[in-house]
């Protein structure tokens, strides 16, 4: 990318719609969305609500398990959204002064962040929110 002239870079950024303000807005949007995901995790349903037939017991068991997986996945996805917020900022910086090393790191970060979004609720929980996980090192 290598924009030597900062003035020209800014001009191009404006043309592209990439501004620091917009990058910040994007990041805020992603962070807000992440918060919504975690805040709107479905509640657990009391056992008694299902009734007490054998099928009720089975349904309660499976619904509760499913809810646990969903909650874990939502947490991971929320972490992923936050990390995408970082990526958007990096992307903005990258437009200005990218080098090969930064570009490689950026791509790796993008791939790791995408891994926060599970291919299935059944997938094992990731460590997206853990320190040092994707997006946390950049």
């Amino acid at each position: 990318m290598g924009f030597g002239d900062i003035g020209a870079t800014i001009t191009r950024l404006v043309e592209l719609g990439i501004s620091e303000a917009l990058a910040g807005e994007l990041r805020a949007f992603l962070n807000l969305s992440a918060g919504e995901l975690t805040e709107n995790t479905p509640e657990t349903v009391a056992h008694s609500a299902y009734g007490r037939t054998p099928g009720s017991v089975q349904l309660c068991t499976d619904a509760t398990k499913a809810r646990t997986h969903v909650a874990d996945a939502l947490k991971d996805m929320a972490a992923g959204l936050e990390q995408y917020g970082v990526i958007v900022t990096d992307l903005y910086r990258d437009v200005r002064d990218a080098d090969d090393t930064a570009e490689v790191a950026f791509k790796q970060k993008a791939v790791r962040t995408d891994a926060c979004f599970p291919g299935s609720f059944a997938a094992a929980p990731t460590s997206c929110g853990a320190p040092g996980a994707s997006g946390q090192d950049g």
């Binding site: 592209l16 009391a46 007490r52 089975q58 068991t61 509760t64 499913a66 990526i87 599970p118």
Partner: protein, 439 residues
């Protein structure tokens, strides 16, 4: 007069809460909508990267691929949450139906059989008595049939919805506990053993291989609920035609409660909020035992009317939050500054953030087809296969026990002369005979 099945139905559904299940469905719908909206947003953001010839580097391409990939997965998860939401609503409707029917049955529970007139010569009184007598027991039978059907319908429906959630959590079914016959479900989910109906109390004809039995069966009883008709309480109704002897495994014969009939899966005690850790359900397949370790927290921060509030607050709160992030004038401010949104047009990029309500309006169309297919495909995991597996275990246990017992007798006979009056029908005093099944 409340019959045993009606009482059982009452015990099954009196604390069931269809409103809570609908609320759960609503919450899952909120999650589905949120995921779908975010997926759309990510998709739009991702497609905006690298579309301009001046901005098509590897970094932009990597970001685009990541955003699009994540968007697709979020969309798929939204579909799954929709399936879960629908399953909750179907369960809620089934519970509502069961409770409604139960209320009708309980309302008629005060009726008592007519008293036979003492004057046997009063033909009118006798005729009236006979009419009332027949009507009473006809109504009683109808009530019991209804109760049994309602229980079966509810349980079957819940089993179907459980399959939906099994598809979501993806955890393997826990193996049946060792020594269990696996037929503990009081609701018939498998093939009943060979039965002949007859007017008299039945004799269990044991042909020594435990493969074929003939038992008395109440013609009015067609649902296999144990403990309510007194004739097939061995709890193996989901089995393969074998009736094992009593005590073939824990949970097969459920202890009666204070009313003299089993109360189904047993008392369930919430053990606290569910944590992120894996959840296990002791008792496992076939509904043997109680839920046990499955934790749950009734109510919760959202409360009973949370869904509507969530649904409303989601959009407003979101937009409000965004409003604070955007310079005064919102989109106009951005446009006025000459900064276009990321993407091919500024309208798409920025407007989509602010206009989530419009974006979400068309979200409800997808997902249903996938659910139907999943249900159909997963039907094989239902109760039928579990019941068969469990019953096979019981047969093995019963057969082993019988073999050992007879072997002991044979050894004894080798050491002694055969008793003069021994007619060889040793099964009559066989310890392995099922006393509970022989009148």
């Amino acid at each position: 007069m409340i019959g045993p099945k009606a009482r059982m139905l009452n015990s099954y559904v009196q604390h069931a809460d269809d409103v809570a299940l609908h609320t759960a469905g609503d919450q899952w719908t909120v999650g589905e909508s949120l995921l779908r909206d975010l997926a759309q947003q990510l998709d739009q953001r991702g497609r905006s990267f690298g579309t301009n010839p001046d901005f098509d580097g590897d970094a932009a391409h990597a970001a685009k691929q990541a955003f699009l990939s994540s968007s697709k997965k979020m969309h798929d998860r939204a579909d799954q949450m929709k399936e879960g939401a629908q399953a909750f609503h179907r369960a809620a409707r089934a519970v509502h139906h069961a409770k409604t029917e139960n209320a009708k049955l309980q309302a008629n529970g005060d009726a008592q059989p007519p008293t036979k007139p003492s004057d046997l010569g009063d033909a009118t009184a006798q005729s009236k008595y006979e009419t009332e007598h027949r009507k009473f027991w006809s109504d009683y039978s109808d009530s019991e049939t209804t109760a049994g059907n309602v229980m079966t319908t509810l349980s079957d429906n819940h089993q179907e919805q459980a399959v939906v959630f099994q598809g979501i959590h993806g955890e393997p079914m826990p193996p049946p506990p060792p020594g269990s016959s696996g037929g503990g479900s009081p609701v018939n989910t498998g093939t009943r053993p060979t039965i002949t109906s007859g007017p008299h109390g039945g004799l269990l004809h044991n042909n020594n291989d435990h493969d074929t039995v003939t038992i008395h069966h109440d013609p009015t009883d067609g649902d296999g609920y144990p403990g309510v008709d007194g004739d097939d309480d061995n709890g193996d109704d989901g089995g393969d035609g074998t009736i094992p002897g009593p005590g073939t495994g824990p949970g097969v014969i459920q202890p009666p409660d204070n009313n003299g009939f089993p109360a189904g899966p047993g008392p369930v005690t919430p053990t606290g909020p569910l944590t992120a850790g894996p959840t296990t359900a002791p008792g496992g397949v076939g509904g043997v035992g109680a839920v046990g370790g499955v934790g749950a927290a009734a109510g919760g921060a959202l409360g009973g009317a949370a869904a509507a509030g969530l649904a409303g607050g989601l959009t407003s709160g979101f937009n409000g939050g965004l409003g604070g992030l955007v310079p005064a004038g919102g989109r106009g401010g951005l446009s006025a500054s000459g900064v276009r949104g990321i993407g091919s047009t500024s309208r798409t990029g920025v407007g989509s953030v602010l206009g989530r309500g419009a974006a979400g309006s068309g979200r409800s169309g997808a997902g249903a087809g996938g659910m139907a297919g999943r249900n159909a495909g997963r039907g094989g995991r239902g109760a039928g296969s579990r019941g068969t597996r469990g019953a096979a275990g019981s047969r093995g246990a019963a057969g082993a026990g019988a073999g050992a017992g007879r072997g002991g007798k044979d050894k004894k006979r080798q050491a002694e002369d055969r008793d003069l009056f021994d007619d060889g029908a040793d099964w009559l005093d066989d310890e392995d005979a099922a006393p509970g099944l022989i009148d």
